[in-house]
Symmetry: C2
């Protein structure tokens, strides 16, 4: 429980100062300005009082219990301070102080030592190199953070690794008159981890929406577990910083982490049901609507406007975001015809035209929310000089109060009429500046709805020969497996492979086992791109050709240790690729795509976190652009998609059963129409 951190009954400020530019001063000011409900104890051995607070020389001098300390003094004093806090029975220490992990070796050692002292005393450290926490819960009203944006109560909780982004999120909310619930920017995660905080947010009843920014995952598996448990009840909106390789480098110079986690992040977010964003503004705007409104039941949008252009922008953006334009029932059409001006346009968008007044807006919006085939409504309103603004706001609020369907507004006006916006917001209607914003927000809510309601299953129970794989891969370390054993590994997990034998010139015997046509391949861990290096002979039709092919290949790969593989040649079909990659701290990631240029040039791939449930496997298949090709195009029969689903599940199980497999490529797997099993004709496995 993190109550002593987010609901502290008392706080001591170690490094309290009269210098108004110091953290130790600003935190006290923030706490008092926002009416913290408990006592504040400034600690400073050199001065008698700070602001109007009497100071204490150390925490040990404080006569009462201390739940939380904020520490901003230099790193070198921290071990001693932590010992004192331990003696005092402090529960949480927010360490603003920097100079730890983020500065390299020495800092890492310092950080480790500090955590050891804390744990000895049962103290949990938040940070170091952290910005602090806030909680607008009126029972505590704690602003133990050195930032500047005023805190107002709200139901959006924020958790940001980057303090600058965290502040920006708060700032935007503040600027549009929305408060927030809890806030923190957690720094180095030396002790208290981001997933622990997220879990706490998840349990907080006052938190309706969680938004977060992550630069690097320190505990990805734990994050996945915690987030997955939250998203069925409340939405999590997230940005993983560094989606480009350049951005990823910028992350690593900022956080000291070295791994590019962007593909992993997207896969984790999807698995956990988190809504992913790339833009800070889009994320925070979506959160504002999600705090107030239930997500839509489906993806059908109705749009009302009083001017054409923004309506069209809303349509384009909605469709881009996966929404569908609703159509009206006969009753709906009749009511619109009856209630709207003759010039009005009664399709979707409904254009009530610039002279449309309060009643026109009321009937248009009310008709739409009452249509069964409408899941959400976007209302655009430019404050035309012809109409009564107050009455419009009132009548729209009348509708929104009567419906559970999300209705959001975009108002085009300037400061003279901002009271209109206030009135709408007061009535619970989220208001945005641009039509595109409104459409994107509704699309994001719909994404949440889909994620929340998607079918959840456990990975299916499948029969595999785990023992056999264990026997094989335990023989190798930090190397590729030979082809024949790699085939045995996947075969043990039920992945169909061609008939094959290790080949050393025993033509008749081998041909007997494999049959013609067949393929001769070099089987050497040194030869990675076999085809490119002339290590594959296809279309061998008889024993003669086989003998000749073997002769010439022996010449090409003359190392006597080189082995060769003879393999049944499979007929052509639709090629796919399935891969596995180790994702440190998380486990194994599965990759899926069509063969060749579709992966290499078109970058049309999906990643997912192993193991996979059936719907997750299906999602990967349907998630690539080339899915249409698998389904069959222009009268061509599609391939057996259930079989691919099965392959993905098996590969994923192999990955999660054997974390020592750092890389695996089944490239290509040839797939065929239903009735013919797909087959992995090449495989590459690397183990730790």
């Amino acid at each position: 429980m993190l109550d002593a951190l987010f609901k502290p009954r008392s706080i001591a400020i170690i490094g309290a100062s009269n210098n108004p530019f110091s953290i130790g001063h600003i935190v006290i000011r923030n706490l008092t300005d926002h009416g913290f409900k408990g006592p504040i104890y400034p600690i400073n051995p050199k001065t008698m009082h700070i602001r109007s607070f009497r100071t204490y020389k150390s925490v040990l001098e404080v006569p009462d219990e201390i739940d939380l300390v904020n520490i901003s003094i230099a790193a070198k004093y921290l071990p001693q301070i932590m010992e004192e806090c331990g003696q005092k029975g402090v529960k949480f220490a927010i360490c603003h102080t920097a100079g730890f992990k983020e500065v390299g070796e020495e800092g890492i050692a310092r950080e480790k030592a500090l955590v050891e002292i804390a744990h000895k005393h049962g103290i949990r450290i938040f940070g170091p190199n952290s910005q602090g926490i806030q909680n607008s819960n009126p029972e505590v009203s704690v602003y133990a953070n050195f930032t500047f944006v005023p805190m107002n109560p709200g139901a959006i909780s924020i958790i940001a690794q980057g303090g600058g982004i965290g502040e920006q999120l708060k700032l935007h909310l503040y600027n549009v008159g929305v408060g927030h619930r809890m806030y923190c920017s957690y720094g180095n995660e030396a002790d208290l981890s981001m997933p622990e905080i997220l879990e706490y947010y998840g349990q907080d009843e006052g938190t309706k929406v969680i938004i977060q920014q992550i630069e690097s995952f320190k505990f990805p598996a734990e994050y996945l577990r915690v987030a997955s448990a939250i998203t069925p009840h409340k939405p999590i909106l997230a940005i993983k910083a560094g989606r480009t390789s350049e951005g990823s480098k910028a992350v690593s110079s900022h956080t000291g982490s070295l791994v590019d986690q962007s593909a992993m992040a997207t896969a984790m977010f999807r698995k956990a049901g988190i809504i992913e964003f790339h833009d800070v503004d889009r994320m925070v705007k979506a959160a504002i609507a999600m705090e107030r409104l239930e997500p839509p039941k489906g993806n059908r949008i109705g749009i009302v406007t009083n001017t054409g252009g923004p309506g069209i922008q809303a349509v384009d953006e909605s469709v881009d975001g996966g929404l569908e334009l609703a159509t009206w029932s006969d009753e709906g059409k009749a009511r619109l015809k009856e209630t709207q001006l003759p010039m009005a346009s009664l399709g979707n968008p409904v254009d009530v035209v610039a002279t449309g007044g309060p009643d026109h807006y009321f009937h248009a919006v009310d008709t739409l929310v009452k249509e069964e085939a409408v899941d959400m409504v976007l209302v655009f309103f430019v404050t035309a000089p012809f109409v009564d603004l107050d009455a419009i706001a009132n009548r729209i609020c009348e509708v929104t109060a009567s419906t559970k369907k999300p209705v959001i507004m975009v108002v085009e006006t300037y400061k003279k009429y901002y009271s209109l916006i206030d009135k709408l917001r007061h009535g619970g209607v989220p208001v945005y500046e641009f039509a595109e914003d409104g459409a994107r927000v509704l699309a994001a809510m719909t994404r949440y709805s889909v994620l929340k309601n998607r079918k959840k299953e456990d990975p299916p129970q499948i029969e595999v020969d785990q023992k056999k794989v264990e026997r094989i891969i335990s023989k190798y370390q930090n190397s590729y497996l030979p082809q024949d054993e790699a085939f045995q590994v996947i075969s043990a997990y039920g992945i169909p492979v061609p008939r094959f034998v290790s080949y050393s010139g025993d033509t008749a015997e081998a041909a007997n086992k494999v049959g013609f046509p067949c393929v001769l391949k070099v089987d050497s861990t040194d030869v990675v791109h076999k085809s490119d290096e002339g290590g594959v002979v296809l279309d061998i039709e008889n024993e003669d050709e086989l003998a000749k092919a073997f002769e010439s290949m022996k010449n090409r790969f003359s190392d006597p240790k080189t082995r060769f593989l003879l393999m049944e040649q499979k007929p052509g079909g639709c090629e796919i690729i399935i891969g596995l990659t180790e994702s440190p701290g998380l486990g194994s990631m599965v990759m899926f795509g069509l063969g060749g240029v579709f992966v290499e040039v078109m970058k049309d791939v999906m990643f997912s976190v192993a193991p996979l449930s059936r719907p997750e496997a299906r999602e990967m298949i349907e998630g690539i652009k080339g899915y249409q090709i698998l389904k069959g195009i222009r009268g061509k029969k599609g391939v057996d998609i259930m079989a691919i689903e099965d392959l993905l599940i098996r590969v994923a199980k192999l990955g999660s059963d054997f974390p020592t497999i750092t890389d695996m490529d089944l490239n290509p797997i040839i797939t065929y129409p239903e009735g013919t099993s797909p087959v992995a004709v090449d495989v590459r496995i690397k183990v730790k």
Copy 2:
């Protein structure tokens, strides 16, 4: 010249009214509130004065000359009013009045009649169904428009088909303290056309940037001509509403136009050097920076921040937008090391850290703008509570005043510190709210720079047999051409085709002309998807096979009028598709993509407006994602790209020489490595 419209010396308001919600009242208020420099004559036969202006019964009663009238009375009175305006010698009439083209047949007739009267008298009509015009030029200061956003002088001119979008653009500028130059929303374009207005904006010295929203092009060819002449001197930023098919439908219900012009718009924008946007907010934000700053010389960005997260967002967005992260010279590195705090991060982004003060910012930004390898600088600043904000603004303005490289700022702060933003803006620095905005703005400026500086050439002179094509296609109307004649058409334009003959069973003779292997095809305008309908036999190796194939095909297509084509069979290669489509009002559009699924499933195509210059053809080729495949991947030799360039130029010339060709598909064209000519193995041509 449109001076009498945008710089009227006098204005009469026909339909002037004391009703404060009427257009005839609001326009007078807007004109007087913004200090129009000429006399205003309210026309109203029923009242003595409106506001404090003496009214006139008709324009004929006005004792002075009238340049411009604003008309907002009902449509039925307009013919008579227009006659009076003619007698009076009025030069321009802004018709706010609706009820014309946009309401259907009757309105179209009314509109045509009105224009006829106007032209008889030399009056130009702006509209009807238009919002009006504005010009902040202090010599006139005219606000002849019924909208509500106050007008301040600036150098961005706006031209919007959708009045709601136009107003939104003005509004955003106003909200961030930026003015605008000219403004108009032109309605039905019954007489005065959008390209004419655009041309006038282009010639206006006070206009530095033009932004526009278009719902449908009435005069696309003229637009292309006018815009192309402007963009080398000043940027045009544009949105074409309706980029999705649903959006396009919404446009047509708004404007009454029926053609989906979205692909055409993108192609025209590229040809004309216009920067295309999809979002209103992104467009207007880019305009703000382009009004003040020169475009960058290259695409290398330097970033300065005082907090990590927004720096990373800026990196991700920059890279996504085609920018490159600059690296510093040794001198630059040394200066940064010398001038920055020990905790600062000196890569790109430079993180001066939250305690970085005015000098740190100054040296960081100044170092970057002086680096030869930096073309533009993005500066992020969160108002950390530790530093002197005023001094930071001053020192940054010091740098920006000393450089021609674009420097823009993103400031994270709240209203208490808005004076900082004012100071920066006053110093000529554009300021944005989110790091992503800043990166996108710089990427847009870079796009302009590329468009402005790209190589411009005329379409090359090529030899073609235009006469022959004329002879062939003049025989057909509203139909597909037979295969053999379609081949003759493209062959006449220098597009290589296989050897072919019309075939009717003359085995030996035909085989002699074409050779083996060959292909037998049905040649019937009724059979469009020949392969799918069994109308193609491949791999015919000898006369026997040919006879057999012919027999079976004759059975399949038993209509005695059906013709057949025997064609040389070309070896496999990399397949591409080139197409032509008529684009009404513009001419012919060329389409290019890789064969099969790359076009059908991956939608990886480029469109361009015919005719094509060599760089334009090259741009199309390089513009598809699959370009890498053409260049050659994984050691595979690439195809002859110059030859594809040549094909595109020839197809484009065919399209522009013969506007009667409404559709043409060369699908596939087989391409080979240099040395082997590509060849169009199938062609479909449809004429009007």
